[in-house]
């Protein structure tokens, strides 16, 4: 239903109006309530800080480093998660040997491992990749285990009736069938991987957005911190969009409802 309004407008106008309203409220409400701009800098100041940081060459380089740490950790953690899920679901012995401990580890807040990892690997990029990997690993593992175990019995019967090998069953049916589950894990993992990289940078690093954030904090440059937060949000959106893109490409057949938006 539309009344001659182009679809692009009905689609993008409401979020645009919402965004403008939020920015305006952020700009003017603190003034009305006399909140010092030092504590809550208005958007105009924050955008100025973004420009200043960019101008000093602090933004792009640190953005790239944190992006690389998060993405690298995400990739390693996800591949390991899928691989361990494969092992655990293929062999009952391995499942019984490992699963209780994997689940036990899952209950541990992974960021608690971060200081240890920094001590072990050092304050370079590698330790952040490792922390991001550890933190990405579990959601992918758990979802992949569920995915590998949730196959319609008839699909397996079909493969068994053809005397398919275990690997054929896995590669032709079980793995593709588990992709919607794996992507549910990846969607969580990609966001967590940024947390992991950032926590690592907080603990010990000489670069990255987390390091920049701490430095600005020491200098009480609140507006600069807001600028970094903005860039971090952007980083999150970029990475999430990347996974989302792969999701719609690879799991087109599962059709989650939110992929059908605008398909009338």
């Amino acid at each position: 239903m539309n009344w001659g309004i182009p679809a692009t407008i009905t689609r993008y106008l409401p979020p645009l109006i919402g965004g403008v309203a939020i920015v305006l409220a952020w700009e003017f409400l603190p003034r009305i309530f006399n909140i010092p701009t030092l504590l809550l800098p208005p958007p105009t100041l924050v955008f100025k800080s973004v420009w200043l940081l960019y101008d000093r060459g602090l933004l792009l380089g640190n953005f790239a480093i944190t992006l690389a740490e998060a993405l690298g950790g995400f990739a390693i953690g996800s591949v390991c998660g899928v691989f361990f899920a494969f092992l655990v679901t293929r062999s009952l012995l391995i499942e019984r040997m490992l699963l209780p401990y994997l689940i036990g580890l899952q209950a541990l807040p992974k960021v608690a491992l971060a200081p240890l990892i920094v001590v072990w690997i050092g304050i370079g990029i590698e330790s952040k990749v490792a922390i991001a990997a550890v933190i990405s690993f579990f959601p992918v593992l758990i979802n992949a285990i569920v995915g590998f175990s949730t196959v319609e019995a008839e699909k397996i019967d079909l493969m068994r009736s053809l005397v398919a090998s275990g690997w054929q069953q896995f590669s032709i049916v079980i793995f593709p069938n588990s992709l919607p589950f794996i992507f549910a894990g990846l969607n969580v993992a990609i966001v967590l991987s940024i947390t992991g990289a950032l926590v690592g940078e907080f603990i010990g690093a000489d670069r990255g957005l987390g390091n920049l954030l701490l430095q600005l904090n020491y200098n009480m440059d609140i507006s600069g911190m807001f600028a970094v937060l903005l860039v971090l949000a952007l980083l999150g959106v970029v990475l999430y969009a990347l996974v989302r893109f792969l999701h719609t490409r690879l799991v087109f057949w599962a059709k989650p409802d939110n992929l059908r938006v605008g398909n009338d």
Partner: protein, 269 residues
């Protein structure tokens, strides 16, 4: 007819399950049936009479509890590649196109790529799906998906086709059309077919012989010949022989439903 070779010999086959509560469930009591090569046999029986279980045991997907099944004189001890299976639902892999779904057996059996592609296209034509090979299963109707499932079951050119209520999930009109389609397909390939169904009309229209199963625990109550000439068509349903046999078959289930009310519901076999 009796002079032909026995391909499948089911003798005294029984099946027991342990249900979740721990009680033993007697699905199949003592089923005996012989099937000759190139014959079309239908198994009819009430829900839960163990007819689908028998099919699974024929396919080697489940062991027998007692008795023996032999195919070509060899006892069935596991799945074997000369059998094509069609389930009640199409069991398509939704991430593969129809063509690639039909090619699954070729992939598993590592058949020659170009030859199997050619055959897959021929099968698409045989089941009336030419031009739909590049579509995904969810773009097709239930009837079309089931045609694709039949094509897939024929892919590796098995001797035996086992069909478990293949049209049970379709609406009545599609089902009648699919029955005639199956007749046409079968006429072209002359596989040995065992088809499980609830429908007396379907059984009579399709088969050379109909095996009637008793309620659970199932056994073969009767096997009737269907001496109606082929090729058959929609008009076959008005054939006097057809009507007489349908009445006779219905008689089995009428007496049962009065005798076993409340016993018919339950675990689908």
């Amino acid at each position: 007819m009796t002079s032909r070779l026995t391909l499948i010999d089911i003798s005294g086959v029984g099946k027991q399950f342990r249900s979740r509560s721990g009680a033993m469930l007697h699905a199949l009591a003592d089923a005996s049936l012989t099937v000759e090569a190139n014959q079309f046999i239908c198994i009819v029986g009430p829900s839960g009479c163990g007819k689908s279980t028998l099919l699974r045991m024929l396919a080697g997907l489940e062991p027998v509890s007692s008795g023996q099944i032999t195919i070509d004189g060899v006892p069935v001890s596991g799945a074997r590649r000369d059998i094509g299976l069609v389930f009640q639902s199409p069991v398509m892999l939704p991430w593969r196109t129809i063509l690639k779904n039909i090619l699954v057996p070729a992939e598993v059996l590592k058949m020659d790529k170009t030859a199997s592609r050619k055959r897959a296209h021929e099968l698409l034509e045989l089941v009336g799906l030419e031009g739909f090979g590049d579509r995904y299963p969810d773009e097709l109707s239930g009837g079309m998906r089931q045609r694709a499932a039949i094509a897939r079951a024929l892919m590796h050119d098995p001797n035996i086709l086992l069909m478990d209520e293949p049209f049970g999930a379709l609406d009545a009109l599609t089902r009648e059309a699919m029955n005639l389609e199956l007749l046409r397909i079968w006429q072209g390939s002359r596989k040995t077919v065992i088809l499980v169904t609830h429908s007396i009309e379907e059984a009579l229209l399709l088969s050379d012989r109909v095996a009637v199963f008793s309620p659970r625990p199932g056994f073969v109550r009767d096997v009737i010949d269907v001496p109606i000439a082929r090729p058959r068509s929609a008009a076959t349903r008005t054939d006097p022989v057809f009507i007489r046999l349908a009445d006779r078959l219905r008689g089995y289930f009428e007496t049962e439903s009065t005798a076993t009310t409340g016993h018919q519901e339950g675990v689908a076999s």
